[in-house]
């Protein structure tokens, strides 16, 4: 499997990371090095082997469906780059 520049551009888009066009060839080449390394996994016979979900066998615990936390709007917003009137502010989303 070889990654070309258009695939690299698509992956960057999916990851929401802006990559300039002139950086795409180097990026595609790095992907290919890493994926070449990962290809070794194809040598392993995984027939009938379950994909690992949890490294320690455990059932996730359940709890009562009730409010355990809240009423800290100021703390939640304290680190926001742009907070206004008790909300996170972002550029216009809907036209």
């Amino acid at each position: 499997m070889s990654i070309d520049q258009s695939t690299a551009a698509k992956v960057a888009k999916l990851a929401r990371i802006k990559v300039e066009d002139d950086a795409l060839p180097a990026l595609a080449s790095e992907f290919n090095t890493i994926l070449g390394f990962i290809e070794q996994l194809n040598e392993v016979d995984v027939e009938g082997v379950e994909p690992m979900v949890s490294v320690t066998p455990m059932r996730l615990k359940r709890r009562q469906d009730e409010v355990t936390d809240g009423n800290q709007q100021d703390k939640v917003l304290a680190n926001a780059p742009d907070a206004r009137e008790g909300f996170f502010a972002v550029p216009k989303v809907v036209e």
Binding site: I3, A8, V11, A12, K13, L14, A15, R16, I17, K18, V19, L27, E30, F31, T33, I34, L35, F37, I38, E39, Q40, L41, N42, E43, V44, V46, V49, E50, P51, M52, V53, S54, V55, T56, M58, L60, K61, Q72, K75, V76, A78, N79, A80, P81, D82, F88, V90, P91, K92, V93
Partner: protein, 495 residues
């Protein structure tokens, strides 16, 4: 007493309780050492006011006869831990200015145990790296040098600042985190002890997430006894981390008898790599001889899927990272890019993440995005998770055959020079973790113990891998090895 910063946790604890020193004296000694060591770039956010305030409180508690296990002991905290009101950036530009409104469970437990926080420690960005060269703060530098050569060496990574600070006696001990070897590799590079406990022993709550199924916190200390003391303070069930284990935490220090008679120690043949330096091969053989002389039985074992651990890791870890790091979007905390006229929310995400993430983090997020994308999920991600099942089974099989612990080298080489790997492709850097990454994939406890110096005078470490939840037994085996090795070398002060 002079040079109080050079004490270990156990020595300092005993001196505090005898009334020979105060926590304020210990803390001031460390703060002086930190201020003289800016050349190491280990402490990246210093918190002297918090330190002295906690030291005074600790002295009061000791005087009142109410001294918990870490009372008055000054330590450093890796920048990956959220600490209330103190910058916690994971060494990333994207968390510039972030001051959490809460404290991570592990750092809170240490504070509750009386520990004194001196400041935050350098690391690779989001713990992605093996040399501390991906940090937004710049490289952390090892206190060690190759003889009289003044070339700067890496303290390892990702917990490079923690390693450098403990080895240079800037603090008595430090927290680290380990996703693929990030406690054990730096510990080995600077001649200190580092343990990654069983997955689930330490709460991950409030630790900036890299790869959630692999991340574990652990102590980095001057010896095995200190590791036992500090690990006990860090461990325990936390309802805020659903993967944290509901198990009692034993008194690890009380389990250090040094008696390992009859223990079965496995030597895995797959860890004998082509091109491994003869010094490391020799160190490994000597370590096995020492454990044998202490009464252990040495057995050859096989962990047949070892070779596939690193490639599986470089699917699973980036996949989880791409998901975990999706939260850095310029909305809720940290950096937001300046937007141009007409830019919408997608441009805001893309520009913010391009500016805020460093090169290695961007690369891993994108690799993770690729292996999780439609059409490749089965071929890469699910296949890697199947291989992970097989890697874990390798260990289960040898433990079922009666093996108590496994002895391996900690790293495939001694510390390298900062900048020496810049031209290498990323996979070359990833090979640093070849002996440690299996342990994360299998969720097991692993400890790195300093075991000797190479011909350039640099530390080398050995790793012991234990059964799940048996950190006490593992620490005791490490203690026996430490006693036999008698490692006392320290770096000469040049900074």
């Amino acid at each position: 007493m002079s040079d109080l910063n050079k004490l270990g946790l156990a020595e300092a604890r005993d001196a505090l309780r005898k009334g020979d020193v105060t926590s304020v004296e210990l803390t001031e000694s460390c703060l002086r050492a930190i201020d003289e060591a800016d050349a190491l770039n280990a402490f990246v956010h210093k918190t002297p006011e918090i330190a002295l305030e906690r030291a005074k409180a600790a002295d009061q508690r000791i005087k009142g006869g109410d001294a918990p296990s870490m009372c008055g002991l000054p330590i450093g905290i890796k920048d990956l831990f959220c600490t209330k009101g103190v910058p916690s950036q994971a060494a990333s530009g994207i968390l510039e200015g972030f001051k959490p409104e809460y404290e991570s469970t592990v750092s809170q437990q240490l504070a509750d145990a009386g520990a004194v926080m001196l400041g935050k420690l350098n690391m690779d960005e989001f713990a992605m790296g093996s040399s501390n060269e991906t940090s937004v703060y710049g490289n952390a530098v090892s206190p060690w040098r190759r003889g009289n050569d003044d070339a700067q060496l890496t303290p390892g990574g990702s917990s490079g600042g923690s390693a450098s600070a403990v080895a240079a006696d800037l603090c008595l001990a430090a927290t680290g985190t380990d996703t693929g070897g990030s406690i054990r590799q730096p510990a080995a590079f600077v001649g200190i002890t580092g343990i990654k406990p069983t997955y689930g022993r330490c709460s991950r709550w409030g630790i900036v997430a890299f790869a959630s199924s692999l991340d574990q916190a652990g102590p980095m200390t001057k010896d095995v006894r200190d590791a036992a003391i500090m690990l006990e303070a860090m461990c325990g069930h936390d309802p805020k981390d659903s993967t944290s284990a509901e198990l009692a935490v034993p008194n690890f220090e009380a389990m250090l008898t040094g008696d390992i008679k009859g223990k079965k120690i496995g030597i895995p043949k797959e860890y004998r790599m082509d091109g491994m330096p003869t010094e490391i091969e020799k160190l490994w053989a000597e370590g096995a001889e020492m454990l044998k002389a202490a009464g252990a039985e040495i057995v050859d074992i096989s962990l047949p899927h070892t070779k596939y651990a690193l490639p599986a890791y470089y699917v699973i870890a980036p996949a989880e990272a791409s998901s975990n790091l999706a939260r850095y979007d310029g909305v809720r905390y940290g950096h937001r890019a300046q937007l141009a006229q007409g830019d919408g929310i997608t441009e805001m995400y893309e520009k913010t993440r391009a500016e805020g993430f460093g090169h290695e983090v961007q690369r891993r997020v994108m690799v993770g995005t690729y292996v999780l994308s439609a059409g490749f999920y089965d071929a890469y991600y699910n296949r890697a998770r199947r291989v992970r099942t097989l890697i874990k089974k390798d260990f289960e099989d040898v433990f079922a055959a009666g093996v108590d612990a496994i002895l391996t080298p900690a790293t495939p080489s001694a510390a390298f020079g900062l900048g020496e790997m810049t031209e290498a492709d990323p996979v070359q850097m990833y090979l640093n973790d070849v002996f440690t990454v299996t342990v994360n994939l299998a969720g097991l406890p692993g400890i790195s113990v300093p075991a000797g110096l190479d011909k350039q005078g640099l530390p080398l470490g050995l790793q012991l891998i234990g059964r799940p939840w048996e950190e006490g037994d593992l620490l005791n085996t490490a203690y026996a090895l430490e006693n036999a090795v008698g490692f006392v070398a320290k770096p000469g002060k040049w900074w």
